[in-house]
Every structure is written in structure tokens, then in C-alpha cells.
Amino acid sequence: MFDWYFFGLLMSNGILIGLMYSLIALGFVLVYKATDAINFAQGEFVMIAGFLVAVALGLYGAPLWLAVGVGLAAMIGFGFGLERVVLRPLIGRPVVAVIMATIGLSAVLRGFGPLVWGAETRPLPLPISDEPIVWGPLFVPPIQILGAVVSLLFLAAFGWFFLKSRKGIAMRAVADNQQVAMAMGINVERYFGLAWAMAGVVSALGGIVWGSLLGVDVHLALVGFKVFPVVILGGLDSIPGAILGGLIVGLVENVAAGYIDPHVGGGTKDFAPYLLMIIALMVRPYGIFGKPTIERV
């Protein structure tokens, strides 16, 4: 007999963890959407943000609001600075150059974090309980609810930003056609910086939520690898796509672990999303929500 109860548990777990993946993927999508750059250091962004907050809390004993504030401010500054120093000279260069630059950046950050703050695992305690909240048959950890809420809040906030605000429209204009945007008096470089800073903000919150879940050390950067199937499935430049992709990956992982693993000896959870991603790419080369580009000779 099919165990519906267990299935329900898997699904609720998949949805919550999927939204937490989305939170990390959002930063990636923002950068790609506005600047066409692929950030392979997204996981390291999250790690650095986690370090900042954990160190502020643990080492300097700052109150939570201050630590979070410091983390956000530092990541905004980091985003702007990064765009200025590394990414701006690479505008207009082949895609492999930007990929490699962010890969190089990820190495720098992975060396920098432990060098400055130490390699040991730091806890990032949030004033929420570890005890699961019981909703009927489901029991849900508060931290995952926090992650899901933050994720959905950002979806709403960015949705409003891009659709309604003038800055958001300008940013979309930049993404659509840089040169024309420039001719309209839009300072394209400033918007690139802004996009990186926004990615920094999302990463900071991702770092807080994931850091609280996993503890903060270099391994925190590994969550970055979850981003790729999420964003490819959803479409690299689509914010709703990041959320949907996260949900798909979360659900697929749980189904794979619950129903395929027992038969093949485990580990399918990791690559099932990637497999799905390849299939999706062959059918829709630009993801579910992604916009195709038109190539001309």
C-alpha cells in the first residue's frame, strides 16, 4: 500500500527546502538578469555573509539586529566593489571569462574566510527554536519556515521592484539592451553595481538562514552547487523561475531519496535534479521561464 503519510512528509520537506534553495538562487538570477554575468561564487557569497554575521554575533557579541545589519551593509559594499574592480573590465568579454573570474573569486573567498576568521565551524544562533512546529501530521522546523518566508518575501519585493518601480524598469531596460539604455541616460555601470549589491543582500539573508541551519564554515559554500539545477530549470533570468526551480529541485530530491534510493543503493538525490535539468535543456534550451535570445549572423 502506498504510504500517503510518508509521501506528504516528503512533499512538505521538499517544498520548504526547495524555497531555501530558491533563496540562494535568487542572488544568482538577479546578477544574470541585469548584467549577463554568471556568478559561480554564489555559494561563497553566502559563506562570507554567514561568516560576517556569525563572527559579529559570536566573537564580538553584537546584538542580532546589529550583526544582521553589519552583514547586509558589508555585502552591499562588497557587491558594489566587486562590480567595480572585477566585473566591469570584463564587460563584453566571452562568457568563459566571466565564469572563470567568478571561479577565481570563489577561490579567493574560500581562502579569505578561514584565514581571517578561522576555519572552525561557528554557530549562528537565531532566536528561534529548534523544536519543530507540529501542524497536524506535519512537523516543520522554524528555520525552514523562516527561509521559505524570506524567499517568498523577496519574490514579492523583487516582483514589485522590477514591475513597478522606475529603478526596476531601468534595470530591465539595461538587461534588455545596454546601448539603448545608455542612450536614454541610464548609467548602466551603476545599475550593474546595484545588481551585484542586491545579490549581496539576498546572499546575506541566505547566509543567515543557511548558516543557522548548517553552522558557518567553508562547507557552507557548498550550497552554491544547488543553485545550478534550480536556475537552469527555472530560467536564468526569471525570478519566479528561481522559486519554481527551487520547488522542483526540492521535490525531485525528496522523491528520489524516498523512492529511488532504496532500490539503487542511494545517492540519486544529488544528480536527479541535474538529470532532469539536462532533459529540460534539450526540450527548452532556455529553461522554463527563461527568455530566448535571437542570434543573427
Binding site: 522606475r166 530591465r172 546601448q179 539603448v180 542612450a183 536614454m184 548609467n187
Partner: protein, 264 residues
């Protein structure tokens, strides 16, 4: 009001495109820049609007002056703020944005929300078809509507000078006339100075007061629109007229080529 003094433009540090171009645009007038493909017309516009930099080009000699101030080497967003806006050829709308969002993006330098709203209304007044299609993605507008949209979008920044690049390209003649009429109206009613780049010399000279002819990165002719209309070479090569009834002889062509070589 806007003056290019003997400018030279080099792309990528190696390709010399403009070889000493001087153009003066009078305030409140329509000046036209004629020339064949690859003559350097668009580059001239980009040299004014500061967009050369995004294509790895730069002004290496000469100066661009606007209202007595040098503006060459300034970033494009600053030039837009000073009141010069360029409209690209080929109706480059923001395809994924709606008509109205295109207009809002065009008003980027405007700080007051009020003024933006007024601007939008003004554009809809000049281009009524746009109002009907305000929520449509600009990529799905017809060619004529897109051309109206890019002009309207440029108006959003309340420019003093509009650099208009080949508005007639790929449009039906009726639409072209309509657009040229609107440009003339803008010029008259809004005191908008226009620098118009065209290949269609008949139309351009019909609305312009002054004209320049470019070839191979140089200005080869200039004069009032009326004078240019009477120029024999212009008549022959741009207006498609030959001297009444006369057959063209091969010698004349050679004469023109020689002339062209001498000029460049």
C-alpha cells in the same frame, strides 16, 4: 549651439573612422546629415552622444561643443542630462518591456514622478496609436509604432537636441511621411533642435534647413537645404534625378569618381 570641430574617431585603437569632421547644428533648426552606408554618419552621432565608448571607440582629435561647453569624453548619461538624446536606427525598443515601461525608462533622468506622468501624456498626444497599446510588450508592436515609440521615448527626457538616425529605414512611405511630419511639428512646437541622419535625401532636405553630405568619414559638401537640392551631384546621386532628358555618359561617372577620390 552644437558644434563638432574637426573630430577624428578611432575604433579599437586602430580603425580610423572619422577623419576630421566639422558640423554645426543651429538651435531650433533641423540639420540633416546625408551619406551612403558606412560613410560615418552614425559614428558622428555616437561621438556626440558619448556612446562611442561602449563600442571601444574614442574621439582622438578635435572637440564636441554644446552651448559653449566641451562634451566629448563625457559619459552618455551626463550628455542626456545636458539635453542631447540619440535615437538609434532600426527601432531599438526594449522588447521585453511594455510600451509604457519603455517610456518610463526613457524618462530615467527625470526626478519628479509628476513630470514623468506629464511626459507620458505629451507623448500620447503626439502619437495617439501608442496610447492604445500602452500595455503591450514593445517587441510585438508594428514597425511604425516602434518608430513612434523610440521617438516618444527620447522625448521623455525633455531634450533640447534630438539626434535622429534614419527614421525612414524599413517603413512604408505613408508612415515615413507621418513620422517626418511629427518631427517637423516637434521642431516647430517644442523648439526642438534636430540633427537628422538620412539616406532618403528627398525627404530629409524637404524638412531640413541645412544639410551636410558625408563620404568615407569626411564632410564633402554642406549648405542650406535649398542649395543642396540644386547641387548637381546631390541631384544625381541622392535625389535620383539626372539633368532632364540627358543620357548619362560613362565619362560623367568617372568624373564623379575622380571628384570623390580627390575629396577623400
Amino acid at each position: 549651439m552644437l558644434a563638432l570641430n574637426n573630430i577624428e574617431v578611432i575604433y579599437d585603437g586602430v580603425i580610423l573612422v572619422l577623419k576630421g569632421v566639422s558640423v554645426t547644428v543651429r538651435e531650433g533648426g533641423i540639420t540633416t546629415l546625408l551619406g551612403a552606408n558606412g560613410a560615418g554618419k552614425t559614428t558622428t552621432l555616437k561621438a556626440i552622444s558619448g556612446l562611442l565608448r561602449s563600442e571601444r571607440g574614442e574621439v582622438t582629435k578635435g572637440s564636441v561643443e554644446f552651448s559653449g561647453e566641451r562634451i566629448d569624453g563625457r559619459p552618455p548619461h551626463e550628455i542626456v542630462k545636458r539635453g542631447i538624446v540619440q535615437i538609434f536606427e532600426g527601432r531599438r525598443v526594449f522588447e521585453h518591456l511594455t510600451t509604457e515601461e519603455n517610456l518610463i525608462a526613457g524618462a530615467h533622468i527625470q526626478t519628479s514622478r509628476q513630470r514623468v506622468q506629464e511626459g507620458i501624456e505629451r507623448v500620447y498626444a503626439y502619437f495617439p496609436p501608442l496610447k492604445e497599446r500602452r500595455t503591450v510588450q514593445a517587441g510585438y508592436l508594428s514597425g511604425g509604432e516602434q518608430q513612434m515609440l523610440v521617438i516618444g521615448r527620447a522625448l521623455m527626457s525633455h531634450p533640447r537636441v534630438m539626434l535622429l538616425d534614419e527614421p525612414s529605414l524599413g517603413l512604408a512611405p505613408m508612415l515615413v511621411e507621418e513620422i517626418f511630419e511629427i518631427v517637423q511639428r516637434l521642431n516647430r512646437e517644442e523648439r526642438l533642435t534636430v540633427l537628422l541622419v538620412e539616406q532618403n535625401a528627398t525627404l530629409a532636405l524637404a524638412i531640413a534647413d541645412h544639410g551636410y553630405v558625408m563620404e568615407n568619414g569626411r564632410i564633402v559638401l554642406d549648405g542650406t537645404a535649398d542649395a543642396l537640392k540644386e547641387n548637381a551631384d546631390i541631384k544625381e546621386f541622392y535625389l535620383g534625378l539626372t539633368e532632364v532628358g540627358a543620357r548619362k555618359s560613362y565619362r560623367d561617372v568617372k568624373h564623379y569618381k575622380r571628384r570623390k577620390r580627390w575629396l577623400s
